[in-house]
Symmetry: C2
Subunit: 402 residues, 2 copies
Amino acid sequence: MEIVFDGNITTPAGFTAGATYAGIKKKSEDVLDLGIIYSESPCTAAAVFTTNKIKSAALVFDQQVMQKKGKISAVIVNAGCANSSTGEQGVKDAYEMASLAAQALGIETEEVLVSSTGVIGVQLPMKSIREGVRNILLTADGGHDFEHAIMTTDTVPKEIAVKVTVGDTVFSIGGVAKGSGMIHPNLATMLVYITTDAAVEKDFLDKALKDAVAVSYNMITVDGDTSPSDTVLVMANGLAGNTPITSGSSAARAFKDALTHVCIHLAKSIARDGEGATHLIEVNVKNAKTVKEARQAARTIVGSNLVKAAVYGRDPNWGRVTAALGRSGVYLEEMKLDVVMAGISVLKDGRPVPFDKPTAVNALAGKEVAIIVDMHVGKGNATAWGCDLTEQYVVINSAYTT
Amino acid sequence: MEIVFDGNITTPAGFTAGATYAGIKKKSEDVLDLGIIYSESPCTAAAVFTTNKIKSAALVFDQQVMQKKGKISAVIVNAGCANSSTGEQGVKDAYEMASLAAQALGIETEEVLVSSTGVIGVQLPMKSIREGVRNILLTADGGHDFEHAIMTTDTVPKEIAVKVTVGDTVFSIGGVAKGSGMIHPNLATMLVYITTDAAVEKDFLDKALKDAVAVSYNMITVDGDTSPSDTVLVMANGLAGNTPITSGSSAARAFKDALTHVCIHLAKSIARDGEGATHLIEVNVKNAKTVKEARQAARTIVGSNLVKAAVYGRDPNWGRVTAALGRSGVYLEEMKLDVVMAGISVLKDGRPVPFDKPTAVNALAGKEVAIIVDMHVGKGNATAWGCDLTEQYVVINSAYTT
């Protein structure tokens, strides 16, 4: 697997993208707010949607499209308005957005997925979208523009592409992401689009995406919040010309590893770009009773306000780590616990290890802080990512919607 | 039921209390850090302890004492050190603390409960405690001193006493509390002590406390954190001379109502005094499918960082309320949802209600903000309390332990 420099969703063959300023976001310099990804060859697709029981109109539309298991050729996405809690009008608007893209691209409405991200409870400005769609120019290097069009409070675009060679099969996978789930609450929504020119059988693609999501986006739980619009979509157009990858086929492992790599990269980018964040926190739980319990423990620790605030303050206050572990609901034996914070052993066999505070404070100054919890009660391992909690987070999130 | 002015744990007959500065906390003006509550007549007692799987040494000791179902005559509590994650030495120290109090009071060690609150992972300074116990003077108005001795980052002491008359039975219930669960993380721990001179049968007392805790302390979930030392204890010494109250007896309802009133009062006091808090938030979930689901929904909403930050910023951003409800895991029908924030209807039958933003911002300026969510899918009601999330919270909790 090889990382493609400056690569993104338009790196795999046959994918183009573009964006425009349609007037949905308030205008400031260089703003884009409406984008399209298009594949010249219809794609096998797999998607994972929010578990939130309040679902945006676009997401409900997408779920219906995906249930039909047809091919997907395009995605249209706007920022600045979530089209969520918008009643019957919202449902109509989501459908119209898909139709507008379909007309512009000369494809069927059922080949188009729709996402909207932004403020909840406000109707989409359809007039702007109708005009905007006509102004989108799709190009083979349009991935960057598309990324900017879906950004809300993100401070950096998030992208990656990898090239994989297995025997005589060569394919690429590209991905872009926006948001950081519950870290960017006002304009919440995590949107991830992954493209590949590999030919992939539908069932295998579903399974590979589900497994990759479990160890990436589902492990960046900052406070457990989910948005009504969270979406991870992968589109495989087959233009690499390989024999379709199925479960157990020779390229299956390589494809799954590459997809997982793309997903973890984007997930970490999201956590690192958390609002007001100054540290990426990585929590590694080892030897929990099961993998499920390891995940639960890692997510609880990385999502604890107290742990997050301690990391911000470079405070080696490991009692917050064990307290979060203790309430996570997983099986533990206190006298078997080891904790290492930023490389410093602070708890061994459940007993405090004396350490030099100034050294620990220095160790916590790095931009990435690793917390390792070895539970010694089983073989379940998991890693979760999050960011620290800063005054800036509160400032950003307490501003008026007005 | 009548509120006793300035009343607390020493209001019910036969209870005395006192405190001293033993040198466990760092000294600043008027500091107390070691206190005792004593009943001249041994008490029927009920207790509810933390569900955190990491338990402090004192809490493990208390659980063993309570399992024996004997009478309890005293509680000794220190602040400044949690005696948690302290290994075998911690267990010995908890036992010695109980013994020291028993010796000083001329009672058995098994009649004494122990609590410790403060920093995790540090051994108790037993020399200071040995000396301190001898300096505690128990008086009939010592409740206030006791309250101050158990405070950590609390800004105000939390107390209440009520007097209840049922037929010719007259009894009092008094209570004090410290902490605010996960709001005061560094010195976490919620400790609540309730005294009554009513004679109460043990099984009924257990049940009454469990029910009262369910609608009070368990409904102030700020971020789901629990401490290794959280304790709610009620001691009934019977000096009111009434026929012991049992389930179904004439005074049962009055006792339970009064106990619940005391618990809700103290729970709200704890939420209101959250670190850095400027608002008490009350979330009232109506007509959920079950009471259990109503509680889960109310706790999720009041514990959401996004809702908390919105209230701090007086931001009528109700999308955060419905998003938190959506991820709470409870059954809902979006098109039946009503939401009222600070008296203003913002969502009706799942559709946004236009409202005047400046009016809403003004309504959110009050010190108490009520959020009412009517789900219209059942008959389960619940109320939860919390506080807003402010920059000050982050400042306080990101300070070094050093």
